[in-house]
Subunit: 120 residues, 2 copies
């Protein structure tokens, strides 16, 4: 469980987060410049702390139940340029420079394949 | 609870969704053309069905526990141009034309105010 980890996240930021029952906040990851939405992932306090202090996007993997530095195994790292919190504190916008594919399937973004509606 | 509603959502789409225990999927809302990330909201099957069939972005409000057609009271409607599902079926990208402010605080996006990191 993510919340057993003590985090050094800034107390002022931590106080503004509204977390799921699992202690997580949704992170929308966007390519700097082009504005492409690359993927959606999840952060707990410690993942956000590591992201803010290392400049490498770091998430909480709900399936593996571990921290996950994006690109640590694939090389497709995300250099973080901006992090913003939304008005109700339950979503982050992480603006990155993505190396290579953001999606584990090999496509540039996780939204490239399954189009439910294309009204033009 | 959202999932008590029977939904006419296309069965093929419904089969690809991976929902939270509350029956919801995260929806990232992006302005067509500029790529601005406007907000993050939540949809259950019926909200997605209504969004796909009416062309008006419709969400499930977790706080009010009701469907919510964006702009129904404020006039700040979202005309839907594209809807995409991500590779693992738990996030939607909704590309819209946003009338006026997307955020209930009056700012253009829900991410305009609280900058946690700005590395340039």
């Amino acid at each position: 469980m993510p919340r057993v980890v003590e985090s050094a996240l800034d107390a002022g930021i931590a106080a503004r987060l509204k977390r799921t029952p699992d202690g997580l906040v949704c992170a929308v990851v966007q390519q700097r410049g082009t504005g492409e939405v690359l993927m959606v992932a999840w952060m707990d306090d410690e993942a956000l702390h590591r992201t803010l202090t290392t400049g490498r996007a770091t998430y909480w993997s709900r399936s593996r139940e571990e921290y996950w530095v994006k690109g640590a195994t694939s090389g497709n790292v995300q250099h973080v340029h901006e992090v913003r919190l939304d008005c109700d504190g339950d979503a982050l916008l992480v603006v990155v420079d993505q190396t290579g594919a953001a999606c584990h399937t090999g496509t540039r973004t996780c939204f490239d394949t399954d189009v439910l509606l294309a009204a033009g």
